[in-house]
């Protein structure tokens, strides 16, 4: 394989990995704080990009305004899902909340089918994202570079919030222990809402960039990426933000590189993610960056 070819594959792998990373962060943050796998997260990602689509086409907003507004609406939607589907079950066994999450996922998906229609919609890509850049004989679409850059900026802001602000400290406290955090005068409900808002916001950013890269929107488009990003979060160590990012990049690069080196296996593309999940659960269930939780006797 030539250097150019490899570089092209690498660029694509990083791009896909960034998208997976953004969405995986949402899963991992919600798990860290609520010990809940938010299965509806893939649907939030789908709604985010649909809202952006409608803002640009129906309300004819300029794209930067549309993306920001879509971000805001998706954050509110994420908080809404938490309020309606998860908060009432806060004191119930964890399995109830998980079932509620699955239910929310199906509900949002089918609502999207009814409201948006089953036929694919084409995301209007502004020319600046569609430009083809040629580097050393390799053609790469501009969006392929923009995605990792935006991802790193978002990640930097997120890590700043989590590690250097009071809200972030409160989030970390709530992840450790709800009761104790309450004793420290932290409003747990608000912190959880903020967590969902941040996770949904990142999913919206990921969704919009996904729409820019793969401009075809379907109501079921959140299903497979949602599953893969959940796997990415688990692989990196669920509950750990850096782990989610690592998992996302690992999964994205692996997906592209395996097809690149073994093109005859391209039909099994989705299977690799699930195989990786099984391997990680067998070998290191807490994930790559996860801390091994010993039994406290």
């Amino acid at each position: 394989m030539s250097v150019q070819l490899f570089f092209q594959h690498l660029a694509n792998g990083l791009s896909l990995g960034s998208l997976y990373a953004l969405i995986a962060i949402g899963y991992t943050m919600v798990y860290g704080i609520l010990r809940l796998i938010n299965f509806a997260h893939g649907e939030i990602f789908m709604i985010g990009v649909y809202i952006a689509f409608y803002l640009v086409t129906l309300f004819v907003l300029p794209w930067f305004a549309a993306f920001v507004v879509a971000l805001g609406i998706t954050c509110i939607l994420g908080m809404g899902v938490e309020r309606i589907a998860y908060r009432p079950l806060r004191d119930h066994p964890r399995i109830s909340v998980m079932i509620s999450a699955i239910g929310a996922s199906f509900f949002i998906q089918n609502l999207a089918i009814v409201v948006f229609g089953g036929r694919p919609k084409t995301f209007p890509v502004p020319p600046v994202f569609g430009k083809i850049i040629t580097i050393g004989g390799v053609n790469i679409v501009s969006i392929t570079f923009i995605i990792p850059i935006i991802t790193f900026i978002a990640l930097a802001i997120l890590l700043f919030i989590v590690n250097k602000t009071k809200t972030g400290m409160a989030m970390r406290a709530v992840s450790t222990d709800h009761e104790t955090a309450r004793l420290m005068a932290i409003d747990v409900d608000i912190i959880i809402s903020i967590t969902f808002a941040i996770g949904s916001g990142l999913a919206a950013i990921g969704g919009i960039m996904w729409g820019l890269k793969y401009p075809q929107l379907l109501p079921i488009m959140g299903l497979i990426p949602g599953l893969k990003c959940f796997i990415a979060a688990v692989v990196g160590g669920i509950g750990n933000i850096k782990g989610a990012v690592l998992g996302g990049f690992l999964l994205g690069l692996m997906e592209i590189m395996i097809i690149a080196f073994l093109p005859s296996l391209s039909g099994y593309r989705d299977a690799f993610a699930f195989i990786l999940l099984i391997v990680i659960l067998l070998v290191r269930p807490s994930g790559i960056l996860g801390s091994v939780q010993g039994e406290k006797v």
Partner: protein, 381 residues
């Protein structure tokens, strides 16, 4: 309080389950024709186009044998399991006289055994894989089959494009795609006399959006053309990404490319793509064609797609068969459909052969100025 709530929920669920349209046929004042198409999922546009044709035909010809004809549409969700469920629902619950469906040979094949056992004749509009009707005397179709279509495109690739080395990109989970790719391969190898004329076969799955890995690998093999008989959803993205990666080779495809979404998503990238299909408004074949095109333009204000004309024809063939059989007994209707000869449909004259397939011309279209444009008609030998 909790028990009352639980009881109320149970009653509600029961109500929803049983309320779902237990409409008994009032005497037999209504003749029901079932339609199972992908209305949601990756193939939603294909199903929607066929349903447009069926609904138009129902509007123009709402009665047969003095009774009203009612169309019952069930969504097969672009999924093989759902297709079987949809067909089962039509024969068991709705008790239809005949069925039209489906866009996507995989879904038709999934329903095959169900309609055969229930003895309900089913007419496919655009499903071209030969296995849909093979060995199933209750399945018919008003379109040509893929051995012919594959040969048409292989000939085009060999003669018009002058290709001697072709790469294939197929949707591995789709029987239509794999079947058509195989028929193309057989004919192309025969024409070139070269067993290695197909330089590579790349696979992808339904719903895939990223083809850069496959394209990058094909690029290094330098084929003269690429045959990609997949659905419009994936194919448009495939061609777009190929052009972005600097691949300029001609792309050839099959009838599943003809959907407005193909042009929407592909935009300038799909300019010059060539595919085979069933019908073009530029060459109306029969009187019914003219009627169909006029009525469609009046109703929808745009040009009809080929599969819409076929959906229209499927409805007409069933109605004609019911008329000839003089009854709604499904076995008699089935025999009448099998005897269809020389019926003037919108997409050509329909004569069903012993396997239940129609022998029809193929039309080759291309994308010019971001519109579908007619190239030529190919007559079967």
């Amino acid at each position: 309080m909790k028990r009352i709530l639980a009881l109320a929920v149970c009653v509600l669920i029961a109500g929803v389950v049983f309320a779902g349209g237990e409409q008994e046929q009032a005497g037999s004042e209504v003749i029901k024709i079932g339609v199972f198409e992908p209305m949601t999922g990756a193939n939603a546009a294909g199903g929607a186009m066929e349903v447009e044709g069926i609904k138009l035909a129902n509007k123009l010809y709402p009665e047969v044998l003095g009774k009203k004809v009612e169309i019952v549409i069930v969504d097969n969700k672009s999924d093989k399991v759902e297709a079987a469920n949809a067909a089962a629902r039509l024969v068991d619950k709705e008790k239809v006289t005949a069925i039209i469906g489906s866009w996507g040979s995989s879904f038709s094949m999934a329903a095959g055994s169900i309609v055969k056992e229930a003895k309900v004749p089913t007419v496919g509009a655009s499903c071209t894989n030969p296995l849909v009707t093979l060995g199933n005397e209750y399945y018919f179709r008003v379109c040509f089959i893929d051995p012919f279509q594959g040969a048409v495109m292989a000939n085009y690739a060999y003669k018009e494009v002058g290709a001697r080395k072709v790469a294939i990109v197929q949707e591995i989970s789709n029987d239509y795609s794999v079947g058509l790719a195989k028929f193309f391969t057989d004919e192309f190898k025969r024409l070139t006399g070269d067993d290695k004329a197909i330089v590579a076969v790349s696979n992808y799955n339904t719903g895939d959006m990223d083809f850069t890995a496959q394209i990058t690998n094909l690029k290094s093999l330098k084929p003269d053309a690429i045959f990609a008989p997949g659905n419009y959803t994936e194919s448009a993205l495939l061609i777009k990404q190929a052009r972005e990666l600097g691949m300029d080779v001609p792309f050839l495809g099959g009838d599943t490319w003809e959907a407005p979404e193909f042009l929407d998503v592909g935009k300038a990238a799909v300019e010059g793509a060539v595919f085979s299909t069933f019908f073009t408004t530029e060459v109306p074949i029969t009187e019914t064609s003219k009627l169909f095109i006029d009525e469609y333009r009046k109703e929808y204000g745009k040009e009809p797609a080929a599969v819409t004309a076929l959906g229209f024809d499927a409805y007409l063939v069933i109605l004609d068969a019911i008329e000839r059989a003089g009854t709604t007994d499904t076995v008699a209707v089935r025999d009448a459909i099998a005897a269809t000869k020389g019926y003037p449909g919108a997409a050509g004259i329909i004569s069903l052969n012993e396997t239940g397939d129609a022998v029809k011309n193929a039309v080759i279209k291309t994308v010019k100025d971001q519109q579908f444009s007619f190239v030529t008609t190919i007559v079967p030998e």
